[in-house]
């Protein structure tokens, strides 16, 4: 198992109200697995940041990764 910090932003916070949250996941877990696990609609996931750097849904998590997931923001 590995430990990660997951933070969901804006509307996505409703899927994990006490985010940011430290959790353990199994080796080989990718970001898409997290999205599925928390029931987040894939079309609402626009940006994924791992340790402050943009990554894709297919990114395989490593121990102590900080994961941030953002919905699309377009208002003015």
């Amino acid at each position: 198992m590995i430990s990660i910090d997951l933070n969901l932003f804006a509307t996505l916070r409703s899927f994990l109200p006490d985010a940011p949250k430290t959790m353990t996941v199994s080796q080989g877990t990718c970001v898409m697995d997290l999205v599925t696990k928390f029931g987040i609609p894939e079309e609402d996931v626009k940006l994924i940041f791992i340790n402050g750097k943009r990554e894709l849904l297919s990114y395989v998590l490593k121990d102590n990764d900080r994961v941030g997931i953002f919905p699309p923001v377009g208002g003015g």
Partner: protein, 234 residues
């Protein structure tokens, strides 16, 4: 232009040098969208002393703008935003050259509207129009300072010609709804003006060529959790 010695800029010094103030006075910036973000950006650029502003919006103010849009007021409901913006800039700083366009930017009018600017500021409220604006700015070799808001969340980035830009933020331009989560969360005054401040700061840094610019990076903030982070896009 020799206006920077005016006492109105006394409090800009020493954060901005006289030479830099002169550079701002000779600068020309195009602000696209004069709503929640655009009103704040125009107000700040006029006050700091950007010499020429090209201001674009085809909308008129309505009652739903009053909660956040700096240039909206009860007496100006129904009045074109571009006309109110011209009046406001004139009242703040009559040394600023103002060109207003009471229309929406498109491929046909883009050269006339933004072709003279050193920086374009994206204060639009739709994702699809942001992709068009990026294309229009990049084909003219003009840096684009972009801001977007939804509820208490906001983001700012700077896109130079040749940068991947919005596709790293929103994905495929043909696979996007025109709006984001602002449809659910609305837009709040304090968040709009915060992001407008961050955009204004990026404009000034680009014009002066100093400081850390958010090129290929995205500043994301959420006022509900007081989180501010700068993310690396590439």
């Amino acid at each position: 232009m020799k206006t920077p010695v005016l006492p109105r800029y006394a409090r800009n010094f020493q954060s901005i040098s006289l030479e830099e103030q002169e550079r701002l006075a000779s600068a020309r910036v195009c602000v696209v969208g004069l709503g929640g973000l655009g009103g704040g950006v125009v107000e700040m650029l006029a006050r700091i002393g950007v010499g020429s502003l090209d201001l674009v919006d085809g909308d008129c103010f309505d009652e739903t703008n009053l909660n956040r849009q700096l240039f909206s007021s009860e007496k100006d409901l129904g009045v074109p935003k571009a006309h109110v913006a011209r009046k406001r800039v004139g009242a703040i700083n009559s040394t600023v050259n103002v060109n207003v366009f009471n229309t929406f930017l498109n491929r046909r009018n883009a050269q006339e509207i933004m072709g003279h600017a050193q920086v374009v500021v994206d204060c639009l409220d739709s994702i699809s129009h942001r992709f068009l604006l990026q294309e229009l700015a990049q084909t003219r070799n003009i840096p684009l300072v972009s801001g977007a808001i939804a509820g208490t969340a906001g983001q700012v980035t700077v896109i130079y010609p040749g940068d991947p830009g919005f596709k790293l933020i929103y994905g495929d331009p043909y696979d996007n709804k025109s709006s984001g989560i602002e449809e659910q969360l609305g837009n709040l005054a304090h968040c709009a003006l915060l992001v407008a401040s961050l955009q204004s700061s990026e404009v000034i840094k680009v014009l002066l060529g100093r400081g850390e610019v958010l090129q290929n990076r995205l500043l994301v903030c959420d006022l509900m959790t007081n989180s501010f982070e700068v993310m690396q896009l590439v």
